[in-house]
């Protein structure tokens, strides 16, 4: 069966993909529907949803909550994807080196991985962003630094089981370089679990980003959902909508990505699903 047919067998995954596409479209068209800066005053402050021309209300400074959500979608998706790419990159390099060479290199790299897994990741991320000063780059780096160990362990395991197969030995006899064998021959054979773990990591990255922004560690120049909730928490008593809607946006996005990730997993490892 083709990838799509296998993917579509999981109904949840299809629903998730639908939500995700909607959110991506919202992010892409944010500047079209809300051309003004989402930080700017757009009307009467503290307007409830549906009043004064605000679909989802406005906050204490008269900022449009709906505009913030649309522009925040860009931030969340961008940081989620970038951080995951960087983390997967680090994880593949570390895992490939450890699994391919084994011995002392493996031992050293796995000790480092273990240490990074022991450290409480969210506090580590807070610390890194605080030291580097909040910006998109520092947030991406911080999330990547706390997320790569899982990928490294996975890739190492795959490399360990593949490195002595016949096709790899054939490559050695042909005189291929180690780098070429690692990247060109072994890596493509272990991509599917990496893709699955990567897709689930995007969701975690978005959750970490929103937590950082909520604590005031977001990039001060770009709108994000976590920032909106953090700014609205003092208004809980008088304006519940400022916190509520961006939270629903985070929930839906993360849920959709998790569902899609499971769908990809079912499609790429069909045997795994039939077993359970």
């Amino acid at each position: 069966m083709t990838f799509w047919k296998l993917f579509a067998r999981n109904r949840g995954a299809v629903v998730g993909l639908g939500i995700l596409v909607l959110i991506a479209v919202m992010a892409a068209t944010a500047s079209l529907f809300f051309p003004a800066d989402p930080f700017s005053l757009a009307g009467k402050p503290m307007s409830p949803p549906g009043e004064n021309g605000f679909l989802l209300g406005s906050d204490s400074l008269g900022r449009d909550v709906a505009a913030g959500i649309a522009h925040g979608a860009k931030t969340s998706l961008l940081i989620g994807l970038l951080a995951t790419l960087v983390a997967v990159g680090i994880g593949i390099v570390m895992g490939a080196l450890a699994g391919y060479y084994g011995g002392p290199i493996d031992n050293l790299l796995m000790r480092v991985t273990e240490m990074f897994q022991t450290i409480p990741s969210f506090i580590f991320a807070i610390l890194l962003v605080a030291i580097m000063k909040p910006s998109i780059e520092s947030i991406v780096i911080a999330i990547a630094v706390v997320s790569w160990p899982a990928v490294a362990r996975l890739v190492r395991g795959e490399f360990l089981s593949l490195r002595n197969r016949e096709f790899v030995q054939a490559c050695h006899t042909l005189g291929m370089s180690d780098v070429r064998i690692m990247l060109g021959e072994i890596l493509p054979n272990c991509l599917s679990p990496v893709i699955v773990i990567g897709s689930l990591m995007v969701a975690t990255a978005i959750l970490i980003e929103s937590g950082l922004a909520f604590l005031g560690l977001g990039d001060p120049n770009i709108m994000s959902w976590g920032f909106q909730i953090g700014a609205g928490r003092t208004l809980l008593r008088s304006a519940w909508w400022v916190c509520t809607f961006p939270g629903i946006a985070i929930l839906l996005t993360v849920l959709a990505i998790n569902l899609v990730g499971e769908g990809i997993n079912d499609a790429l490892n069909p045997r795994l699903r039939e077993r359970t």
Partner: protein, 321 residues
Amino acid sequence: MRYVVKRLLQAIPIVLAIVVLNFFLLQLAEGDAVDVLAGEAGSATPEYMAELRAKFGLDKPLPVQLAVYLKNVVMFDLGYSFRHDMPVSQLILDRLVPTLLLMVATITLAVGFGILLGLVAAMGLNTWRDTAISIFALITYATPLFWVGLMLIVVFSLNLRWFPTSGMENFAMFYEGWDRVKDIAHHLVLPTVTLSLFYLALYTRLMRASMLEQAGQDYVTTARAKGVTENRIMFVHVLRNALLPVVTMAGVQVGALIGGSVIVESVFAWPGLGMLAFEALFSRDLNLLLGIFLLSALLVVAVNLVVDIIYSSLDPRIEVN
């Protein structure tokens, strides 16, 4: 016993590496303690700052500074917080108890209900109960903690007025004895529920998967063949074995729990380590933040150690490799 010693020895390099990492993070941060002091004082001559640096040993080469730092950490001297005008270790110790209280309550609730829900889901496989529990787990797994906290405040504190919005106790009432315990428990409810939700989802999924895995093992067939009732198989044979991975997971998740407590404590103004970290963040008190980070990392190492030891006594098949 040999296992315990071996496991302790394995933990030492990790602890050392974490302390060294902490030292380099401190170096990475812009400005040192003297810059902070000079900034607090308003003005300082370069000569005075150089003198201060010499006094704190900040003019020494890096390896010497690292050695001094290591020695200080061993003596539990984590530096000085100039914002609070107190030693960092003192500040952290003062806030440790509320955080431990929150964490113990959370783990108990999350593991307890997680096991229960996972059990119910696994026993009614593919019925509406299983589906409902799976959907609940899926949604709570995707919800940001701080948002759940704020929504619980809106519903249960502001509208229903069942629970207080923030803090750990009502100081104005001067409660003593049992009244004080009850007051603290009352304040504990919402933060605990918030922090538990995420882990509840995790343990529910794990427990369900673990039950299903164990139900397919050979010993279940054997038990069935010798005529053991289904209930006895489920609750005596399968449940016991299925609990093992849940226990390990509870240990592994302590690090994440500490991270979650930063968020939950700052939402509910719970006066623990997480709240302290939030305050440190706001006043840019990096020394304090690093101290909290170091302590929480050590806490994770310690908890993992304890869980591994408990685990090895529960399951004799486990060995140190």
